[in-house]
Amino acid sequence: MTRRAAGRKPRSPMSLPGLAVLTVASALTWALGGSESLHGQARDASLAIVGGYLIDGTEGVPIQNSVVLVDGDRVVHVGTVEDTRIPDGARVIDADGHTVMPGLHEAHAHLFIVGHGIYSDYFTRYHYEQDRMRELMTISARQLLMAGVTSARDVGAQLDDALWIKEEIEEGRMVGPRLFVSGPFLQKTSGPTQEFFRVLVDGPDDARRKARELIDAGVDLLKIIQLGALSREERMAMAEVARAAGVHIAVHANTVEEIRAAAEMGVRTIEHVGAGASPLYPEESIRLMRDNGIFWVPTAMVSRVYNVTDDFPERLDAPQLQEDLAPDVYEDVRESLTFRSRLGYFTGKREVSPHYGDKIRQAHKAGVRLLVGTDSGTPMNFHYESTWKEMDLFVRYGLPPMRVISMATRYPALAYGKLGEMGTIEPGKLADIIVVDGNPLRRMSVLQQDNVIYVIKGGVQYKGPDTQLNLSDR
């Protein structure tokens, strides 16, 4: 394919915060060297992703032979090889034959767990006895990013650990997705071995104070569970604190009453599939989610992992998993999953999982917006493959592939009020981009990790040929 200089006027003028990053020097360089009229096109770029099939996240028709120009951490131009001049000095990524799309978002991850089957053993060993939570979170974060997940919400971990890894990643000292973290769950009661990531509230004043402490510490959202056990006053106290601080709320809500309570609190997301063993949600639950603009994160993977592992237990031997985890952790995880049918975690889930597809179709059809989130880290649900498998599952349930991609890109940005910054590949936004072998619109499984050839987050290449990442410099 030929790449020629712009002979035609670019299709749309750029307006852009991205241009702000242009230095005077580079602008001068361009002015001296350039003779063509290029108004509207970026004059400088550190990176050019050239020739791919661009699914930009807006649900527009994909752009063939696309060019995405990145400067610094931002996208500065999106065009085609016909209408875009590749600025001198830009590093070129050849995306011929591949799909270019926004980095995926994982809306429901738990970095501090890695697929182990028995929580009490796991936390006792790695938190209480060995103090290895940060090591494990580091591995999870890297697994996610290498799978093309450039941003993720961690909805439940010890506060210090969650804030620590978020900062390490933000400061470029560690490899992982951009994180939105909740820290611990806010809830009414808790069993043993899990108290270190659960904050129990008792009364509205206590709820208000504890919510504020988390927010002051720096969490991006509050994760509130056991809505039915909390009093209305407790729930609303936390909601008010969150609203005032501008952080969103994620909740567990199964029943109509809990969903009604969630709506009253103004929560942004409801996690997991609810309505128990009912084949469908009550109409009112659906209506409440839709009419209150609540995004639903079904985490359908939690059911899928059980059946797919029975059919193909070899998945637990995946070389990927063995390479990622420390040998003793891998052995321990593998051991914990030997007698899968006895695991308490799957009690009840197996019985209701046949309804997941119906409920997901029901909600989608009714206009509820879904997010791709997987509960990754839970038993047999591994960070390195969870996100695309949830997307694949949605497509198997009959949702349109393009919309499913939105659920992992644009919708989460919308849900968190970050659409101006991320979620699509558009000038001015953060350059969170993946290059994938194959067409996910025809076959979502092309998003599996080995097929994610390049991962770019904030303009920095973290995966792909010639990746040169110097963490200490960043």
């Binding site: 099939y53 063939q64 193909f312 619109l441 025809r442 990790q449 050839i453 990746t467």
Partner: protein, 518 residues
């Protein structure tokens, strides 16, 4: 030794190495011998140009004489251990299985803890993967590479026939097709077949028709076909082809019932089977009456649905049907949706630069190419016809017409299997059709098509569970043919692979089998 050490234990743990798994390779020096593993550079797996780090870097690293000496291994046994085994039958998978190969033949296959692996066996860890018989593609064309316009391709092919056919055969093998039937090529293909089967060049084991026999002959150069105008001539040409060394005869368009009967009678004198290119119902009836052995295409053209009577007759008599549906129902729409597939980096690696350029040129405005003139209607009819044969439980093998426009040897087989599943086969049925049934259709069921003791060691190892997602057949980890390992991301001359693994015989077992096939 029964269950091999898990992969992690031999590649070492990357621990908190901040980026990727690229660092793993540096630990290869501590590989215990006897545990061969793939050292992957994940970002480059799919072959972004020539700078591909070998998927089987580890294998080739171990080919170093010093490594062999150090391990003290006798290099004639290979074991694939740990993956799920689909043996080619429509039977439940065997989990955590092992396949033991000796001198190019399978000597044991089953659960890993039931397969005794002798000392001095080279063990390849297939943990987390699926092992299955190599695919058998019953309809390929080595002479074409997916070029978009036949009329432009023939002059290019004219002086480069064997070069092109070798490229195709190698692409097929690396895509997991260990045996293929070529149904239409210049007679030079006999030499290419012999060189492959002698182990001189890498490629799928070939059974070839050479030029087809036809009354029509339009659109193709004369060296692809033997034109006839009477049954007498049909018989003569058949005799001449058999004397030239073909394995089977293909009848193409325009043949009368008497023509085909004459071909069949002549061919069967030597036990040579006849495959017939058929679309129209009357032609199908005629060919069935004339006694053709395999019905090719049937239903992938522009015909409306076949009558129940015809379908029933074919199914009842167990006449093999090879539909080649994906090149109708998949290739064109998939390319319209995702034209980037035409720029698959593997093509650029596989083709000489001038051919790559020319092939790419032929794709400009591909929807206007003559080959696709009637495709939309063919698609609609093919979808129906495919279901007709599947619903009637006809005896179906897998064939792709690979090499036809935009239907690349690199992926045609698994796309076809995927299309069969889309059309109503269960994944296990489609896999069995593409292995066991395929071998039976070409009369090599005793030696090929399943993984069981005594059979030729043709094994496909893919990443994932094809029973859950049939498309995982596209994720080929490596291919074993005649006991030797081939992989796209490693040099694949048979000498290199045979030497590195030792369990191959340069195709001797296959040659013996083909001599004696029923």
């Amino acid at each position: 030794m029964r269950i091999p050490p898990r992969l992690r234990s031999v590649v070492g743990w990357t621990g908190l190495t901040p980026i990727g798994r690229g660092a793993v390779g540096t630990k290869s020096s501590s590989l215990p011998l006897g545990s061969v593993v793939s050292l992957k550079e994940p970002s480059m797996r799919r072959g972004l140009g020539a700078g591909v780090l070998g998927l089987f870097f580890g294998l080739f690293a171990m080919n170093a004489p010093s490594a062999l000496a150090q391990g003290g291994q006798s290099a004639d046994r290979l074991a694939l251990v740990g993956g799920m085994l689909l043996d080619g039958y429509e039977a439940p998978a065997i989990h955590h299985a092992a396949i033991l190969i000796e001198n190019g033949r399978i000597v044991a296959a089953g659960p890993a803890d039931e397969v005794e692996i002798p000392e001095n066996t080279r063990v390849v860890d297939t943990s987390g993967k699926t092992m299955m018989p190599g695919l058998i593609d019953l309809h390929v064309h080595l002479m074409i590479l997916g070029h978009g316009e036949y009329a432009d391709w023939w002059p290019i092919l004219e002086n480069r026939k064997e070069e092109v056919m070798e490229i195709s055969a190698r692409q097929l093998l690396l895509a997991g097709v260990t045996t293929a039937v070529d149904l239409g090529a210049p007679i030079e293909i006999v030499r290419v077949r012999d060189r492959i089967n002698a182990g001189e060049i890498p490629g799928a084991r070939m059974l070839v028709s050479g030029p087809w026999v036809t009354r029509a002959g339009r659109g193709f150069p004369d060296h692809f076909q033997r034109r006839i105008s009477s049954p007498q001539e049909a018989a003569e040409q058949t005799r001449d082809l058999i004397d030239s060394g073909v394995d089977l005869i293909k009848t193409w368009a325009g043949m009368t019932e008497d023509d085909i009967r004459a071909v069949v009678e002549e061919a069967h004198k030597d036990g040579v089977p006849v495959h017939s290119h058929l679309y129209a119902p009357d032609d199908m009836w005629a060919a069935i009456r004339a006694g053709t052995d395999v019905i090719q295409h049937a239903g992938s053209g522009g015909n409306p649905p076949y009558s129940d009577e015809l379908i029933s007759e074919i199914s009842h008599r167990g006449i093999p049907v090879v539909q080649t549906i994906a090149h109708r129902i998949w290739v064109y729409p998939a390319t319209v949706e995702f034209p980037e597939r035409l720029q698959d980096p593997r093509l650029e690696v596989d083709f000489p630069p001038d051919i790559y350029e020319e092939v790419q040129r032929s794709f400009v405005g591909f929807h206007r190419n003559s080959y696709f003139r009637t495709t939309p209607r063919q698609i609609r009819n093919s979808e129906i016809a495919a279901r007709q044969f599947i619903d009637a439980h006809a005896r179906m093998g897998m064939g792709t017409d690979s090499g036809s426009p935009m239907n690349f040897h690199t992926e045609a087989a698994w796309r076809e299997i995927s299309a069969l599943v889309d059309s109503g086969m269960s994944p296990i049925e489609a896999i069995s059709a593409s292995t066991k049934t395929g071998a039976e259709i070409v009369g090599m069921g005793r030696d090929l098509g399943t993984i069981e003791p005594g059979k030729i060691a043709d094994v496909l190892v893919v990443n994932g569970n094809p029973l859950f997602d049939i498309n995982t057949l596209g994720y080929v980890e490596f291919v074993v043919k005649d006991g030797a390992i081939y992989s796209r991301d490693a040099p694949s001359s048979p000498s290199a692979t045979d030497a590195s693994l030792g369990a191959g015989t340069g195709g001797q077992a296959a040659r013996d089998a083909m001599e004696g096939r029923e």
